[in-house]
């Protein structure tokens, strides 16, 4: 049954719980949990550990619900790409209705618990972030515009904002800047990936930037976003929202990010290119975000402890 193809009628056994778990995109969720936790830890107030745990759980489950809805909607596209063909739906291990219902249940449950257990502003932003990813990005923008990643990047930018709002109960400039950091980070991160998997996206007709605007334009835009990202990451320091621990870290990390992006942005490739600078930039971009947000949380600890 595991090898059943979606093109022919299939007698499906019940999906395994692991397949439901896979629908939540656990790897993406790691970054969501981490950035949400950092937003929560960096906020200038205190929150009971149980409520903090609830907030992070809701952010993670909400992201999982949105991911499940994304996989439900894109099952046919996923079947056409090597990277995603083994997912539970395209491989025929799960029926679409179960995936859809699972996504709706996780989304509604996470918003409800966030509202009742933490606060309704955080719940409202969480609900909007799920809608943003599942509808605005997945259904509307991704198949229509090569700018899909730029605007869709907003979906991944919500966790630190929600984490912050879960603690403070209001929105100020700082959490908006945290949102802006991930928003600006997403295009160079994702386009670096799209450069070395572009044949897959072209095959299923997704208008990714390298497919529509060409490699050269994509490379230039990666560099532009990387350069713009640097002052955005330094803004929390400039407005006094963080100390020098975060500020210097952001500066050093950002300079490396710009240097790696410049290598990608200023080169031309031949037909058999191994795309090593693109792979290096993609790998570094993940590390970059983890360390940057880790330093944001550490900066708050340093301030509370009087180290800076």
């Amino acid at each position: 049954m595991k090898s059943a193809t979606p093109a022919t009628p299939t007698v499906a056994l019940p999906a395994e719980w692991r397949d439901f778990f896979a629908l939540t995109k656990p790897r993406v969720m790691t970054l969501v949990i981490f950035s949400g936790l950092c937003g929560l830890l960096a906020a200038p107030a205190t929150i009971h550990p149980v409520i903090a745990f609830t907030a992070i759980l809701c952010i993670a489950v909400g992201a999982g619900g949105a991911a499940a809805l994304n996989m439900w909607w894109e099952a046919d596209l996923d079947a056409g790409m090597k990277r995603t063909a083994t997912r539970p739906l395209p491989s025929g291990r799960m029926d679409p209705t179960s995936a859809r219902d699972f996504g709706i249940a996780l989304s509604a449950g996470s918003v409800g618990v966030m509202g009742l257990g933490v606060n309704w502003l955080a719940a409202g932003i969480l609900a909007f972030s799920i809608f943003y990813y599942a509808w605005i990005y997945t259904v509307w923008l991704k198949p229509r515009t090569p700018q899909n990643i730029v605007i869709g990047g907003g979906a991944g930018a919500f966790p630190p904002l929600i984490g912050w709002v879960a603690v403070t109960g209001d929105i100020t400039l700082m959490p908006v800047l945290l949102f802006a950091i991930i928003f600006m980070w997403t295009p160079p991160h994702f386009w670096a990936l799209a450069l070395f998997v572009q044949t897959d996206y072209a095959k299923v007709g997704i208008p990714m930037m390298p497919v529509i605007a060409g490699e050269k334009s994509t490379r230039r835009q990666i560099l532009i976003y990387a350069v713009l990202l640097l002052p955005v990451t330094l803004a929390p320091w400039f407005i006094g929202g963080t100390g020098w621990v975060y500020g210097l870290s952001a500066l050093l990390l950002g300079l490396v990010f710009v240097a790696l992006s410049a290598k990608v942005g200023l080169r031309d490739t031949g037909p058999d290119d191994k795309m090593l600078p693109e792979k290096r930039l993609f790998g570094y971009s993940i590390l970059y975000l983890f360390v940057l947000f880790g330093m944001l949380a550490f900066d708050r600890l340093a301030t509370v402890q009087g180290w800076q």
Binding site: P6, V11, A12, L13, T54, W73, A75, D76, P96
Partner: protein, 62 residues
Amino acid sequence: MMNDPHKFQTPQPEHLSKEQSDLYRARQRGRNKVLGLVLGSLAVLFFAISIVKIAAQVNGAN
């Protein structure tokens, strides 16, 4: 872009071979165990949230 939900049919146990039947039951058992664990954890979480909220109310009133 969605899959056609009608191409999947719920299997009838009497139509399954012994191996399929064993696999069917093993998957159901696995799902039931995980669901039980999730529901149990949620009950503990809701209890903990309630205690924290009540304690905050009591402290606020005093």
